[in-house]
Structures are given as C-alpha cells and as structure tokens.
Amino acid sequence: MSTAYVETPPLRAPRASARRLLLVEDNEATVLAVRAYLETRGFDVHVVGDGRTALTAAAETDVRLVLMDLQLPGMDGLDVTQRLRAQGVLKPIIALTAHAMPDDERRCLAAGATAYLAKPVRLRQLADTIERLLEVQP
C-alpha cells in the first residue's frame, strides 16, 4: 500500500498578505492542527520546537504574535516568555498549557504572556483570540 506514504508537505504557499505567527510547540498533532487551521484563517505559521530557538525566532520583526507552549524541551515556555519581555519584545504572546492548574493563568500573565489558553486547543477559540489581540496591537 504505497499510497500510505504519500509525501504531504504541511505548509501551503502563504498568501502575500498572510500575517506571520510563530508557534513554539513540540507536540506534532498540535503543530499540524494549529498550522492547518490558522492557514485557512489567513495566517502564515512558523514553527519551532524548543525554547532556545524560540528566543531568536520570536524577536524577528515580521512575527506579529507568538503562540507559546509551556512544556518545552530544555527551556520552558514561561522562561522564554520572561526572557523575551526582558529583551524588550512587546508583541502579544499567547501561552498554551496542557495541564491546566488553577495557578497557571496567573503564572503566565506574571511571566509576561498577553493571554492564556488551556489545552486541548480549541482552534476557533485560538484564532478568535489571535484576531482580537492583533486588532488591539496591529
């Protein structure tokens, strides 16, 4: 059944007007789902899988907003968020966390996140949150 191995590049060519986002995430299912859905909503989604790479990628000027998973290999998402803010990166950062603890939201916001969403990610809610934050901070 060779058709099971069809090569399927997850990225479609982004529209010229696509707004660029950075997704910092190491979970494959989340990466594929978020990327596929946000592309249909007119975003160009770049993905990095670890915190250290995210530090430089998030600071790039054409990245309008950052989606930050908290459970990352190496440096965790809260740490990355704090460092980005310390570097003077002001763009919106949406924190995503798998085990929603009562204290998570406060910790995320204290670290400098603009908004917080618990996993499993609801794609429409995520996109609506992104749209709202980009309207406030174009």
């Binding site: 090569e7 399927t8 859905y37 993905v47 990095v48 899988g49």
Partner: protein
C-alpha cells in the same frame, strides 16, 4: 473490532455512512467537520478514516494533508467521500494524500467492499517484516547531523523547519538530504519513508 472515523459537516450524511457500514460491525466515531477533525489528531489513530470533501473552513483536502503528515495517522487508510466526481476532483483528492476517492451517492455494498479492501491492505502492510533501523543507519555510516536531519525528514518537517530547529540554513538541510539519498539509496523523501517505515 475495527474503528472508523467519520468526518462530515452534514449529520444526515454521517448517519447514512454509518448505516451503510453497519454490516461490517465496525465501531464508528463521528466528527462534525474539518475543524473537529484537526482537533482530533491528538487522539489515538483508528483503523480507517472516511472524510467528506466539501466542508466549510477546513475541507477534506486540508484534513487529508494534515492526517498524512502525522507520524501515526499517516498509516491509517484515508477515504475521501464526495459528491464531486470530475477527474480534477479525484486527482486533487489523491494528491492531497487520500488513499481512496469515492463519489456519492454510492451503493452500500460498494462502499463496504472499498472499506474492506483498504482495511485488508493496511493489515497486510502491518504484517510486512520490520526494518532494523539502527543496522541500516550503521551500515550507511551516517553522521550525527545527517541522522538528525533524517529524523526530522521522517517526521514530515519542511526544510524551513529543519533549518530552524537545527540552527542551519535551508540550503544546508537540503545538502544533508542529498547525502542521505546517496548513502541510503533513494531519490526522494518518499523513498526514505519507504526505507524506514
């Protein structure tokens, strides 16, 4: 019992398909559209996916691309079910990664035969002898960097992603890929997947 994932934005169509599959004694899970299908990627793979093509927001092509890019769902037979039956629609569906393309309306007996055929093929594939991956890699004398690139290529990552993750340029990533093709005896990423699947 085989589990089948049914994806369609039309509840009546879901019910029809489920009823048609009933004689096969499969367990069906229903999802109300492409967005729900993307959200379902983190669940354990079923034995088959039957997906409608024309859905708002996220269509069957996008669902097929995402499922076929996933390291585990990739191996689940994916059947696109659609009212379209033009050659262009069939080609686009298969190019998006679907394993089978069926035009509605379809006789229950024909749909069941197609489903059985896909399940049979998947079963045969699972019985094929496993590849000794570490022996292959040792034999090919891959460098550490080439192994890293290989792992990411097998996960379906783009060169852009690989470059970012490994802190190299896209050109270097492609260069490593070319060396992998030479060392492992392949001509495309598809060949790498065949070698290591």
């Amino acid at each position: 019992m085989n589990r089948v994932l049914l994806i369609d934005d039309d509840p009546a169509a879901l019910a029809t398909t489920a009823a048609q599959l009933q004689p096969l004694e499969v367990e069906t899970t229903w999802l109300a559209g492409g967005v729900e299908a993307l959200e379902h990627l983190e669940q354990s793979p079923t034995e088959l996916v039957i997906c409608d093509l024309m859905m708002p927001e996220v269509d069957g092509h996008a669902v097929a691309r995402a499922y076929k890019a996933h390291s585990r769902w990739r191996f689940v037979p994916f059947l696109l079910l659609t009212a379209l039956d033009s050659d262009a629609a069939i080609i686009a569906g298969l190019e998006a990664g679907a394993d089978e393309f069926v035009s509605k309306p379809i006789e229950g007996a024909v749909l069941r035969a197609r489903v059985r055929s896909l399940l049979r093929a998947a079963h045969l594939y699972r019985q094929s002898p496993p590849v000794d991956r570490s022996a292959l890699i040792a034999q090919a004398a891959l460098t550490t960097r080439e192994r890293e690139v290989l792992d990411l290529l097998l996960l379906g990552r783009t060169h852009e992603d690989i470059a970012t993750v490994l802190g190299i340029t896209e050109r270097t990533s492609r260069f490593h890929q070319a060396n992998l093709f030479v060392k492992l005896g392949g001509e495309s990423r598809l060949d790498l997947l065949r070698i290591f699947a």
